[in-house]
């Protein structure tokens, strides 16, 4: 620091010795509180607030029963997104990485989820089932792993071949899988699955991880998100349902998802691991925000760009402070 600069610095640090004016901060605070309360009240009266009812498995099965059915088959076959997710739910996938850092995998399995059992078999077993479904259930339970796998995977493939149109699927040896899927679809349609998935045999439950993952495996939630303009690739992170403002303060976070290489899943390593890279980038930038007073260049921007002359216009005028010369 030059002598000049350090003299200025110590004056800036010391209590102000110059002119003062009357200033009633308590009154200012009370008036501000009144104004903000009134503004909030006005906005609430005229605009209300968003509240789209939550989606249910019942609604899913009623509106698109084939999609629900197909998703149930994928859970059994292990081909759904959740079944192959990896940490923190299972070890079926390696998860994302940040170069050599496999943080997702290293964090381990904290919320074990077995998509076939948790989403299909256990719920089916917790309710009295029609004879046909009960028989399918016991066949499944006593079958060898290879058989389960073969039935479900073959059936899943047969369903994909006809684009998930259940009535059009080719007949074949799918074991108990079609009956299980039918049984689960019936449970979903009746609304029973909504309660069972949450409780899983218990009474109190405050964790909805299983329902959210199961939902996400199908098209119902995704379609609803698209319809409401909430998809991440189109700034959805900042949006709210209806005509309401969302988390606009996430604009910078959201921005990365719109531009290459982050928005291209095919591009390696960044696009394919976009979630991890973007979170790390934002963590880094947040640290930058906090540390601005210490970052050379950035911290002198507001001194070089004279917006401060507008902010303190009155003071600069009365004191007659001249413009800084370019160095």
């Amino acid at each position: 620091m030059s002598a000049d600069k350090s003299a200025i610095h110590s004056k800036e640090s010391a209590p102000w010795q110059g002119q003062v004016r009357r200033y009633d901060i308590v009154k200012e605070g009370v008036i501000a509180l009144l104004i903000v309360s009134l503004l909030t009240l006005t906005l609430s009266i005229f605009m209300g607030s968003p509240d789209e009812p939550s989606l249910t498995f019942k609604g899913w099965a009623a509106s698109n029963s084939d999609n629900f059915y197909t998703t149930a088959v994928q859970e059994l076959a292990g081909t759904s997104e959740s079944a192959g997710y990896g940490a923190p739910y299972n070890d079926a996938g390696v998860g994302l990485n940040l170069g050599p850092l496999w943080l997702q995998k290293w964090a381990g399995i904290h919320h074990p989820i077995n998509s076939a059992n948790d989403f299909v078999i256990t719920p089916l077993g917790e309710q009295q089932q029609p004879a046909e479904v009960a028989a399918a259930l016991s066949t499944w339970r006593s079958a060898a792993v290879v058989d389960k796998q073969r039935w479900a995977v073959d059936y899943d493939a047969a369903l994909s071949a006809v684009e998930g149109k259940v009535s059009a699927v080719k007949s074949g040896d799918y074991g108990p899988v079609p009956t299980l899927a039918k049984g689960l679809t019936a449970m979903a349609t009746s609304g029973a699955l909504d309660g069972l998935l949450l409780s899983q045999g218990g009474f109190f439950q405050t964790d909805h991880t299983k329902q959210i993952l199961f939902f996400g495996d199908g098209a119902y939630l995704d379609d609803a998100g698209t319809a409401a303009n909430l998809q991440g690739g189109t700034w959805g992170m900042m949006n709210e349902t209806g005509r309401y403002p969302g988390q606009a303060w996430l604009w910078l976070y959201s921005l990365w998802y719109q531009i290459p290489p982050f928005n291209n899943e095919e591009s390696h390593p960044i696009g394919a691991n976009a979630d991890a890279y973007i979170l790390a980038l934002m963590g880094f930038m947040t640290l930058g925000l906090v540390m601005i007073p210490f970052i050379p260049g950035v911290r002198s921007l507001p001194i070089r760009i004279p917006l401060h002359r507008a902010i303190w216009r009155q003071y600069y005028q009365t004191e007659g402070i001249g413009k800084r010369k370019k160095k």
Binding site: V20, M47, N273, H308
Partner: protein, 216 residues
Amino acid sequence: MMSNKIETQKPDMWTARLRQSWQKNLPIEKLLPDTQPAYVASWIYVFGVLTLSALAVIIASGVVLAFEGPSWYHISDAGRFVNSLHFWSVQLFFFFMVVHLWGKFWMAAWRGKRQATWITGSIAFVVSIATAFTGYLTQTNFDSQWIAFEAKDGFNSVGIGAWFTVTNLGQMLLMHVAFLPLVLGLITVIHVLQVRRKGVVPPIDAFDQTLKGVNK
């Protein structure tokens, strides 16, 4: 042997030391001053107080919502109205805070040993974002289903998701109504006390003698 007159001003007493440093750094005249430097005359100064006011409205409306439980507002008109108050005060809070942040940036308001004010402020910003985010997750409606589904991938991808579980309503609710507001409240108090302690930062060229009186 006990003496009648105990030495209370001993600098090696923790209590005495705390009191002395408090009295020195933040006497009541600094905490509640009735004058301000002449340069505190700009609309930008109002935004800190507006942010604080919006936070007060958020907390007040949030307390009412908390007393009735997280799904009250789905089924009650009064609940919906209080929810609207909570929603809009949050929107106003962020608007005021962002203007405040940019204002303080362009004033380089960290000058003169005021870095801690900037740091506590920016941490308040980050904690506010986390608090709002957990609030969106506790709406118990379609929006929170969607946000939980989308956001889990981000947190999982760097391992945080193992502990900070956006799909766990119970955890998010406690974060939103207890832990995060507590942290935000604490940081805000420290932030505002820092401002009072240091006094409002002088204008950028206030002490540059070479520029003084040039225009007069």
